[in-house]
Symmetry: C2
Subunit: 345 residues, 2 copies
């Protein structure tokens, strides 16, 4: 194990091996590692916050990885600004033995060989809350290591988009020109987070359909996601295959970021994100208290069953859960053997 000083110096120097180990430290659930990670993050804080943080989501099959590969290699090129680009993923469905690492490396073979890029697959398993927390802190570590563009890809399903939108400055959705009158299954509640849409696969004769889709998306976006001080949301076509439009997509992202910086909205947004994060962490840890207490866990399970099947009133059921929790915590304080404690799943 490296010392705190070695971690700090290595990350600051942009040493990729140390960076990788520092992220593993942040991701570790061992209390000793968590304590060290906490100290490391406290030291790195002054060097954080300087990147453009971009969340990226997309419908399945939209070519998100190919676009990230193309966008990333453009950004690290001299022409694209010689940025240093970190690519992170939030995927609560991945697990330790999953193919995520190989997957990312294969999907982004050029970018993963790029010395100015750093690709980190999703932390293994766990709840969305846990994965998202670790990704938030991984962003900070990457920034301290000098990465000035951080792309955070949502891989999983469900609420990972909201989680990623809550930790990034600009949220990009990769879409396709498709049939039907809905946003091709883009999840409800996601559109409101989206700042920039890239309609991919505008190539091989598909250009005009993509153009039409982009116009429709742009209209829909402006209806639901206009915010003060952030500029208008945009949608445009691109082709991750040919590279056409990719730099324009980036110009949209960067334009939005600059506008937010200028208007003071970026600082405000990040402060709000940190405040929400704090509230979310407190809620998570409160819910954890129930999981730690056998009595309260059992009461909650029973309450869920009763509400699911019958006519049990949620209010009365919730009261019972809390009473069980209080009894368990008070018993611990009274020095009783900790019957309420069960192993974490």
């Amino acid at each position: 194990m490296l010392t705190l000083e070695q971690f700090e110096a290595g990350v600051r120097a942009g040493d990729r091996a140390v960076l990788g180990r520092a992220i593993s430290l942040v991701e570790s659930s061992s209390p000793a590692h968590q304590a060290l990670a906490g100290q490391l993050l406290a030291r790195l804080m002054p060097q954080t916050g300087l990147s453009i943080r971009v969340g990226i989501t997309g419908v399945p099959g939209a070519g998100k990885s190919t676009l990230i590969e193309k966008l990333g290699t453009y950004l690290t090129s001299e022409e694209g600004g010689a940025h240093r680009v970190a690519v992170l993923a939030v995927d609560p469905s991945s697990d330790v033995t999953g193919g995520s690492i190989l997957g990312d490396r294969t999907r982004m073979s050029k970018l993963s060989a790029d010395p100015r890029a750093f690709i980190r697959p999703s932390p293994s398993g766990g709840t969305l809350g846990g994965v998202a927390r670790r990704t938030r802190e991984t962003i900070l570590v990457c920034e301290a290591a000098g990465y000035d563009v951080v792309l955070v890809e949502t891989v999983g399903v469900g609420q990972s988009e909201s989680a990623v939108a809550g930790m990034t400055d600009v949220f990009l959705a990769v879409m396709l020109a498709g049939a039907g009158d809905d946003l091709q299954g883009i999840k409800r509640g996601i559109l409101e987070h989206v700042d920039v849409i890239a309609v991919n696969k505008a190539d091989g004769g598909n250009e005009s359909r993509a153009q039409i889709a982009a116009r429709e998306y742009e209209m829909a976006l402006r209806m639901v996601s206009a915010r003060a001080g952030e500029g208008k949301p945009t949608a445009r076509t691109c082709s991750a295959l040919t590279g056409a439009g990719v730099r324009e997509v980036w110009a949209d992202v960067e334009g939005r970021s600059s506008e937010m910086r200028r208007s003071g909205r970026l600082d405000e947004k990040r402060r709000e994100q940190n405040q929400s994060w704090l509230e979310e962490l407190v809620r998570e840890r409160l819910e954890h208290l129930i999981r730690e207490s056998a009595g309260a866990s059992a009461a909650l399970e029973e309450a869920r069953e009763r509400v699911r099947h019958g006519h049990a009133r949620p209010t009365a059921e919730a009261d019972r859960v809390i009473e069980a929790l209080k009894a368990g915590l008070a018993a611990r304080g009274a020095g009783a053997p900790d019957m309420g404690r069960v192993a974490q799943p």
Copy 2:
């Protein structure tokens, strides 16, 4: 105070005076009242669930109250189905001495004099969570009293729309034909809840603008809020002034309700709402544990300050809050004087 039996019999008989007192009981925060309300609700449960529950929101100035008045009087008429209509409101911003009661009665003078209608203003003050909880239970009491249409109006700002969408079957938004390319300030995240849009004030030469707006809204709606088994969301024009289109708006609402009933989606939706409500109540009561503990409250306030102003890490701050809470609850169990308990605001 009436006895439990008197409350039960009076509500079942549809006695308006007893109904009003039963709702006051549900809204009361006195522990004795809450206990009695719990027993009453348990007894009334078999008679609940039989109404069409409609949430109603609208942009300011859209004429929501006028439309509710028109819609309500149509519904209680023989032609409209001779329904019994309860109108409730969720307004976390109202307070005890506020003009809410007079306001509602004035705004809906014809409906409030209608023997088939029952108008109940928003419960006084409190958090959204508290107001919403009481409104959920008030819906049940009204159903037990034989009201087969319950209109729940959102009055306040912020998240009251989500709360109301989470306790109703069909969500109606009252809008205006307006300038600009956004949904006239309809809050982000609301559109996804909306099933039916009524573009009001389609009168006095404003009809064609309203028609255009309705078509645009319908397209936007279908992009973000299509759900399996619920039919397509709709938007149409109406005039609460002349009454034109009001019955068609109701036909949209009822059609959607029937479609959901047919597909089994209604039962499923209500079960999901009850499950979410349970989870929400448990979270609320967990957060309440912090407010009850002076040590944890102080730690949380401090954490918020530090995160707001500086570079404090939310993770470390959240840990401190939970430690303070555990210490407080354990001390209570140990028989220490309950220093951690403070008066509720």
